[in-house]
Subunit: 294 residues, 2 copies
C-alpha cells in the first residue's frame, strides 16, 4: 500500500503550528510541511524548549505560558497544530502561575499535569481544540514516515525472532492497555524489559547492562518491539524509531526491531537502513492481530 497523500494547506503559506518536543521529529515535520507549502511555526515544549528552530519562526512554550504560545499561533493565523517530539520532564506546578493567559486556562492545565504522558497529551489536545485549533497527526503531514508491513532493513528474522516478536507485542499490548508504555524487549522464552516512563533508550541501556552481566543467555535472541497503545489517539505520540534506535538495539545485543506496520514512524530512513545493515539488526513492520481496527 503506497503512503497516503500528505495534508496540504488551504493556501500556500498557511501557518502550521508545531508543538515541538525533543528529538529529530519536529524538524522533520517542519521541513516536510514547508516542502508542501505550509509555513511552519514552532512552539518549543518539553525537551524542545532549548532548541533553535530557525529558520522557522518560533516561541518557547513552558507550561506556565501555554496560553501565550497559543495566542501567538492564533495571531499568526494558524488553525492546525501538530504535537510531536519528546516531553519527558513533568510539568511543575510552580512553573504554572506566571502568566495571565495561562491562569485563564487553569482548569484545563490542572487536568493536563495529572496522569501519564498519554493522558497529558490527550488533555493538552482537548485544551487546544477548545481554543479552536485542529490537532492533526504527524502522519497526516508526512505519511511517508509510516512503517510499511514486512522487512524494512537488515537481515531476515529467524523463527526464534518471530516468536520473540509475538511475545513482545503481547507484553506491549498489555503495557499500552494500562497506559504505561509502548515498548518491550523479549526473547522467544521470556520478556526481558518493559518500558514505563523511562523511555526506550534507557530501557535498551538496561538490556545492554543485563547482557554484560550474564543475565541474558549468550544464545538468547532478543528483539525490541514498539507499538501503539490499544485505542491510542493516532494524532498523538506514535511510536517511532531512527538510526540511533538501531544502534542502541545493537549495543544492547538484540537481533532486531519490530514496529507496528502503518502506525509507527521511521525517522532518517537512509541512516536507519545503513545502520541496520552495518550492525546486522533486522527491522520489520509487524501486523499484529491484536492491532486496533482503524
Amino acid at each position: 500500500m503506497p503512503p497516503a497523500a500528505p495534508l496540504r494547506p488551504r493556501a500556500t503559506g498557511e501557518p502550521l503550528g508545531i508543538a515541538g518536543g525533543g528529538g529529530s521529529l519536529p524538524r522533520v515535520v517542519a521541513d516536510a510541511a514547508a516542502a508542501n507549502g505550509w509555513s511552519p511555526h514552532l512552539l518549543g515544549v518539553g525537551d524542545g524548549l532549548a532548541t533553535d528552530w530557525s529558520p522557522y519562526p518560533s516561541r518557547r512554550m513552558p507550561w506556565g505560558q501555554l496560553g501565550d504560545g497559543l495566542a501567538w499561533l492564533r495571531d499568526k493565523g494558524a488553525h492546525r497544530l501538530v504535537l510531536c517530539g519528546t516531553i519527558s520532564v513533568r510539568p511543575d506546578f510552580r512553573s504554572i502561575f506566571p502568566s495571565i493567559r495561562t491562569l485563564l486556562m487553569l482548569p484545563q492545565i490542572l487536568s493536563v499535569v495529572r496522569g501519564g504522558d498519554d493522558s497529558l497529551l490527550r488533555a493538552a489536545t482537548r485544551a487546544f481544540e477548545a481554543r479552536g485549533f485542529e490537532v492533526v497527526g504527524v502522519q497526516e503531514i508526512v505519511p511517508a514516515l509510516l512503517a510499511p508491513a514486512g522487512r524494512i532493513a537488515g537481515p531476515a528474522a529467524t523463527v526464534a525472532d518471530e516468536a520473540a516478536i509475538e511475545r513482545g507485542f503481547g507484553a506491549a499490548a498489555m503495557l499500552g492497555a494500562l497506559d504505561i508504555g509502548q515498548a518491550a524487549v523479549a526473547s522467544a522464552e521470556r520478556v526481558i524489559a518493559l518500558e514505563a516512563i523511562e523511555g526506550t533508550r534507557e530501557m535498551l541501556k538496561r538490556v545492554a547492562d543485563l547482557h554484560r552481566r550474564g543475565r541474558i543467555g549468550r544464545s538468547e535472541r532478543c528483539v525490541l518491539v514498539k507499538r501503539c497503545k490499544p485505542g491510542q489517539d493516532r494524532r498523538l505520540d506514535l511510536p517511532s524509531i531512527g538510526a540511533a534506535t538501531v544502534e542502541e538495539a545493537a549495543n544492547a545485543g538484540l537481533s532486531g526491531i519490530a514496529i507496528s506496520a502503518g502506525e509507527a514512524l521511521m525517522l532518517d530512513y537512509d541512516d536507519l537502513r545503513r545502520m541496520a545493515d552495518a550492525r546486522r539488526i533486522f527491522v520489520i513492520g509487524y501486523e499484529s492481530e491484536t492491532r486496533d481496527q482503524p
Copy 2:
C-alpha cells in the same frame, strides 16, 4: 491471624536440603530450621555459589553439577528441600556438560534452562521431585516471615498512597500473569516502573534517577508494590522485602511499600521497622481482591 506452626523434622537432626541463592534469605531459613531441630544442608546455587555457608555442611551446585548436588543430599539422608535466594545469572549451556550424573538428567535440565525464572524454578522443582525430594516452601519452615495484613511499619498511608497501591497491584498482577515480574512502582496517576528480569533493586535505582531528573513530579507520591504472580507455586520465589528494600525505596523518593499479606516475606524485621521509621516509609500488608484463593 497468628502465623502457622513451622514444619518440624520427623526426628531431631533430620537433614533439610536448602538450595540457597543470593541474599540473606537462605541463612535465615537455615538458622530457623536449625532452631527447630533440623540439620540444614546447603547447596549453593546461582548467586549463592560463592557464599560461605558455615557452620552448615554445604556443597556448591553449579548447573553442570546439579545431579551431584542432589546425590550428596540423598547420601546425607535429606528428603525435604527448600529453594530460596536469588539466582539471577542464567544457566549457560556450556557449563552443563561436565558431570555424568548431570548428563543423566539432561532432558529435565534442558527444560530448566529455557523460559523465565519462574518456569526455571518450576522445572527444577519437577526434576527434584522426580528424584524423590519433597520441595517445601520457605514459609513452611519459617512461617513468621510472612507479612501480616495492615500496617507493618512506618507512618500511615494517605488516600493518594492507597490509590497508588491499587494501581501498582493491578500492574503487578498483569506482570505476574505474563510471568514477567512481581514488582512495580506507581503513583495515584500512573505506573512509573515495572520489574522484568532486572530485579527490584535495579528498578528502584531507575526510579531514583527519574526523580533526580524531574521525570517524576515533586508532589507525586509513589509506592513500591510486590506481590505473588497469579497462580504462582507458593513453594517457590515468594516476593520479599528487607531493611535494604526500605532504604532503596527511600532513596528512590517513594512514600512507602505494599506487599501481599500472607504471601510475601519480610526479612530482618527489626531492622526493617527501624529503617521505615527513620526514613518515614510506610510498609503495609495489602490484601488484594485479585489475590488467588488458597
